[in-house]
């Protein structure tokens, strides 16, 4: 990856998210924040149960142990912003591509809805618009003007709130500086009550995310697939902190 000049290099940030599984309580606040920030449609209960829920981040719940010693384990999974993304080469119209900051960007207007990227994604985090979006009152009054509302028949997914990243970067640039660590906060990071989510630049060795990524607890999801994910998990359940 380092050899490829278009990908993250020393001159560009590589945006990553650190998810501390010890801190996650499974409260779903990140999901709600994401819905509000990114104009995600509200899918009715029956459709959701049939696998058509439209969340860019979903708190996966796994049960551990046998009754009565059962533990619920929560794992928030959003687009892993892979460095070697399986979804990118398969798109026939370049609707999904890799930007210089390590983000796996999705261009809604280019998407024609082949769902090839979604089939190729091992994390199944890509969200398809099965129908035209519905926003029940009063949610229809609070759409975020910075984010487009997507039509039926296209794929969308977590962008790490690219609108927030770009806004902060532009503001910093006008002031002649670089964004400081922690200045950019995606909606889920901003909302997370226990502070389980940390966003930052992996190429900056001093950033909080970068430091956490070097923790002995850190792991990536499905590392055996070689996708080089941009989401770093901190193993839970062992440290008892």
């Amino acid at each position: 990856m380092e050899k490829d000049a278009n990908r993250s290099t020393e001159t560009h940030p590589r945006w990553v998210m650190v998810v501390d599984l010890d801190r996650c309580t499974g409260c779903q606040a990140c999901v709600v924040a994401c819905h509000a920030e990114n104009n995600l449609q509200i899918v009715e209960e029956q459709e959701s149960a049939y696998g058509r829920w439209a969340h860019w981040i979903i708190v996966q719940r796994y049960w551990e142990g046998e009754y009565p010693n059962v533990k619920a384990r929560f794992m928030p999974v959003m687009c892993q912003q892979c460095g070697e993304a399986p979804c990118e080469p398969v798109c026939p119209v370049f609707a999904t591509y890799h930007n210089q900051e390590g983000l796996n960007a999705q261009i809604y207007n280019r998407c024609i809805g082949t769902r090839f990227c979604a089939s190729a994604c091992p994390y199944k985090v890509r969200v398809y618009n099965w129908f035209d979006p519905v926003f029940p009152e009063p949610l229809s009054e609070q759409l975020n003007p910075d984010v487009t509302v997507r039509t039926r028949g296209i794929i969308e997914k977590c962008t790490f709130c690219i609108q927030r990243i770009l806004r902060t970067e532009i503001e910093a640039k006008t002031e002649g500086r670089k964004p400081v660590d922690g200045e950019i906060q995606p909606a889920c990071v901003q909302t997370c009550p226990p502070g389980a989510l940390v966003f930052g630049d992996l190429n900056d060795p001093d950033s909080q995310a970068s430091q956490l990524a070097r923790s002995h607890r850190s792991f990536r999801l499905l590392p055996e697939l070689g996708t080089d994910p941009g989401v770093i998990y901190l193993k839970g359940g062992e440290t008892n902190v």
Partner: protein
């Protein structure tokens, strides 16, 4: 004429093999012309009822497609994680069916196999129509079908090429190439027969055939060029036909979805395509033979040979299936293990055993010559093959997607009326095109039959009548 044709098969079944080949030798050229042209002209009420029924199914399917476009892809049964369902299954099925046409006419033409003669046109037409049906599915399954042209490379306001890294682009290129190639191939071999039809018909048919015959007169130079062109086409189209289904398989195999990510997929898909395509050809020939009273041309020996080919393709398919399955089973990777468990003993088990039964039982049946040469039995057997092959594709596409690396994302899939209607539309559409085709185009390649007849003569040696074969090709 028609009475004459209908009482032929009994004679054909009684004779020995070389006598069957010589059956047409007693007939004059004009008699053969008439025997082919007559059923095209005579369309009874049964024909129009068939056309009406098929047309109604197509119309209903078009309504379902409109519904799908208007309301969104959610009116189909696909979901997360089964993003691809019956549409892609049926796409793979139709591309598979299209393969036998080339298999028969190009490969057998190159090998100078004699029994191919009466069935090449039916096979080539099957290729062209099946590809047309297959070509609909990449459009149908698009979320925004009105933007389909963004996949076509042309100078545009987006200043972009399509992504040639994407297997879908390879797919589109391969299918268009194959469609154009196979249509040209069908048409080339049609020209002398168009001229024959032109010389034997009147009114609108005459006008149509006059245009389609391209002024064919049957001179030595024309025949020479036709044979040359067919020879070149036969060779060129074989790599295309191999590549098309390989590329279709790579739609799946290049992803890292468990059970799709397999190197054997390309040859496995190609051989599966040949298996289902040859079986479909046998089914179609049995039906058309009865519907158009072509018993004189399509005889036991042809079904016998075709049945043997189906048998060989089926055994090869079984070998490839097993070679893929045993490695995945032995590898015992968690998700693959889960998928195999679902197939062998889980929710997918009915489909798995339907697939295995419908694909393997015909192999046992086709061993018997009686089954290969009895049209009704052959029809049942070959239909069974295609039931099995369709189920196999459904298991690969919609079955494999139900399990993936994160158990939270596992799911199920139930097709809706929209998907089933659209799938029915393409089956009816194929049958409709084929039915109409058989009334407009001579279904049996008359010139090839006459050519084959020239190869065989009967010589008298002393008191003995001996058939002889000449090298004329």
């Amino acid at each position: 004429m028609s009475e004459l044709a209908s009482n032929r098969p009994e004679e054909a079944n009684q004779g020995t093999e070389y006598e069957e080949r010589l059956l047409l030798a007693e007939r004059e050229d004009w008699e053969i012309n008439q025997a082919v042209l007559q059923p095209m002209m005579q369309t009874g009420p049964g024909f129009w009822i068939l056309v009406a029924v098929l047309g109604a199914i197509v119309a209903w399917g078009l309504y379902a497609w409109g519904y799908l476009i208007y309301w969104g892809m959610g009116s189909a049964g696909i979901n997360r994680p089964v993003y691809w369902g019956l549409f892609i299954t049926t796409f793979v099925f139709w591309v598979g069916i299209s393969h036998a046409g080339t298999m028969i006419s190009a490969v057998l033409r190159l090998l100078k196999v004699d029994w191919r003669r009466p069935i090449t046109r039916g096979a080539e037409a099957m290729t062209a129509f099946a590809l047309m049906m297959a070509g609909l599915y990449p459009l149908i399954h698009l979320g925004r079908v009105w933007k389909f042209y963004w996949m076509i490379p042309y100078p545009n306001n987006r200043f972009m090429w399509p992504n040639f890294q994407s297997p879908l682009m390879w797919d589109m290129v391969a299918i268009f190439t194959y469609l154009i190639g196979s249509t040209l191939y069908l048409y080339l071999a049609l020209i002398p027969d168009m001229a024959m039809a032109r010389d034997n018909t009147t009114h609108w048919r005459y006008k149509l055939y006059r245009v389609l015959a391209l002024g064919w007169r049957g001179t030595e130079a024309e025949w020479h060029k036709l044979h040359r062109a067919l020879g070149i086409f036969s060779i060129v189209i074989i790599p295309i036909f191999l590549s098309v289904h390989s590329i279709v398989s790579w739609d799946f195999a290049v992803t890292i979805q468990p059970r799709w990510h397999s190197t054997i997929f390309a040859p496995y898909f190609v051989i599966g395509a040949v298996y289902s395509g040859l079986a479909a050809l046998a089914s179609i020939l049995v039906v058309v033979r009865r519907g158009m009273r072509l018993q004189e041309f399509l005889r036991g020996e042809h079904f016998d040979a075709l049945g043997k080919l189906v048998l060989v393709a089926g055994m090869a398919w079984t070998y490839f299936w097993f070679a893929g399955f045993i490695v995945e089973w032995y590898g015992n990777e968690p998700v693959v293990r889960e998928l195999i468990h679902e197939e062998v003993a889980g929710n997918l088990a009915p489909f798995f055993y339907l697939q295995m039964g419908a694909n393997l039982i015909p192999l046992v049946l086709l061993v018997f010559k009686r089954i290969r040469t009895t049209p009704a039995l052959l029809l049942v057997t070959t239909l069974l093959v295609n039931v099995g092959m369709y189920t196999e594709r459904a298991l690969i596409v919609a079955g494999s997607l139900q399990r993936n690396d994160l158990p939270f994302n596992w799911g199920t899939y139930r097709p809706t009326w929209v998907e089933i209607s659209i799938v029915a539309m393409t089956f009816a559409g194929f049958a409709l095109l084929y039915t109409l085709f058989s009334r407009i185009i001579p279904f049996v390649p008359v010139w090839e039959i006459k050519e084959g007849r020239l190869r065989y003569t009967v010589r008298r040696i002393g008191r003995l009548l001996v058939p002889t074969a000449a090298e004329i090709e």
